[in-house]
Symmetry: C2
Subunit: 287 residues, 2 copies
Amino acid sequence: MNIGIVGLGLIGGSLGLDLRSRGYKVLGVSRREQTCTQAITRGVVDHASVNPAILATADIVFICTPLAAILQTVEQLIPHLSLETVLTDVGSVKLPIVEAIAPVWDNFVGGHPMAGTADSGIEAAVPNLFSLKPYVLTPIATTPTHAVKAVEEIVRHLGATLYHCRPYDHDRAVSLISHLPVMVSASLITTCMSDEPDVVKLAQQLASSGFRDTSRVGGGNPELGVMMAQYNKEELLRSLQHYHHNLEALINLIKQEDWTSLKQQLELNQLARPQFLQDASAMPKAP
Amino acid sequence: MNIGIVGLGLIGGSLGLDLRSRGYKVLGVSRREQTCTQAITRGVVDHASVNPAILATADIVFICTPLAAILQTVEQLIPHLSLETVLTDVGSVKLPIVEAIAPVWDNFVGGHPMAGTADSGIEAAVPNLFSLKPYVLTPIATTPTHAVKAVEEIVRHLGATLYHCRPYDHDRAVSLISHLPVMVSASLITTCMSDEPDVVKLAQQLASSGFRDTSRVGGGNPELGVMMAQYNKEELLRSLQHYHHNLEALINLIKQEDWTSLKQQLELNQLARPQFLQDASAMPKAP
């Protein structure tokens, strides 16, 4: 089976490494000649080209470009694909992507692997990036069953844990556990860097693992943060409004010195957090 | 030299391990017999007792109890100490501690090692916990120089990086990089756990490293969180108000779809974060 990968960065590159090691033939497409050369050298793909015509024989094509480039990429691919080719993407927002692509390509299955590292680019590609990580597929009523099954088979071969949900439900859930943390963490950095210079200087010297972990996603790729906000604006704003409300309630508990209620809330949080951190390998799988 | 340690948990226990390995004689005090026995078995102390009279020969005593117990502990110790004994504490808030102890014990030096792990109790004690971590001393005008020098010598033997500042400045800086992250992170968990049940369930399945890191300190020890708020209330509220303001500004950028300004802010954050994460070993040391 021939697998196409368009966009050879961290996700596309890691996908290529895994799929080749499972015996698939991998055809890569990148905008840049240099990336194509690197992809071949690193063993990420069998063949690579800046010309999407290379995908004429692909059975499944993974679109692994940044969110903002997905629609344009699909439009450029369509003239070169066989009508049977199954398309899937790895974008972190699903409703606008599915709504735009489903009408122009029948065999499209929205997808989102919940995997990544702090790095980006083909240099950052690693084997087994998806192993035991959640991988969400968001088929809709009109998605052909055979297309869903084809992508499912690949996801299982990656060792990922498969979930299905509606594009809208996906976007609500990731607004909470993926996009909201970025904005919450970003505001923390903004606050720490914009205090009085003497306080900031001492804070820089004393910052330790608490700051390091809480600020990690807020200090990440700015383009990725903007794209989350652009493409998942309504759900992110909804999550941010809830967060804003909860933060105000917590501030009021401290102002009122209501230590009993503050402790109760922190105890509830301590109990709730592990529910979000169960190993994907131990979770019930999608049917 | 004899070193006393009162409170044999993660910090007190780790301190004992390091100091014994550097050739000091370590005398431990705990409220519980069982902890004294464990401390001796684990090699954390040379001698241990529930009776503070064991500290009569101590040259320096580290108070390693929770914040709320420090003052009472000092009052109970005083009748048993030689007047030359230097007292120091490891509490994460300094102004109220220094203001209360300095008037009753001349040779007191406030201290705060910026080190810890997710665990607590003497079972969690580990060697080299303080190595290359910041360790702040907060002497005031009336603190005898010889007392400061005595604590400094120990801190250097721990391999920690020594800083000096006023108690008030310490509390402002840690409100930003230690106490604010706890509250910011706690509100994230509260928001994720209190959405609609279907969304929460899917969010639990899909949560990955972004949620894991951003929620870590907010899902930690509730008593520690409450104590930060109690003892550093004014500075924490000041930091929370700045955070609240910055979060509202970020929400407004998203509402107004001002992606240019959002990107600029995220770029500033990305540049600012590493300034807070410089390896303590590479920082200029206190004179």
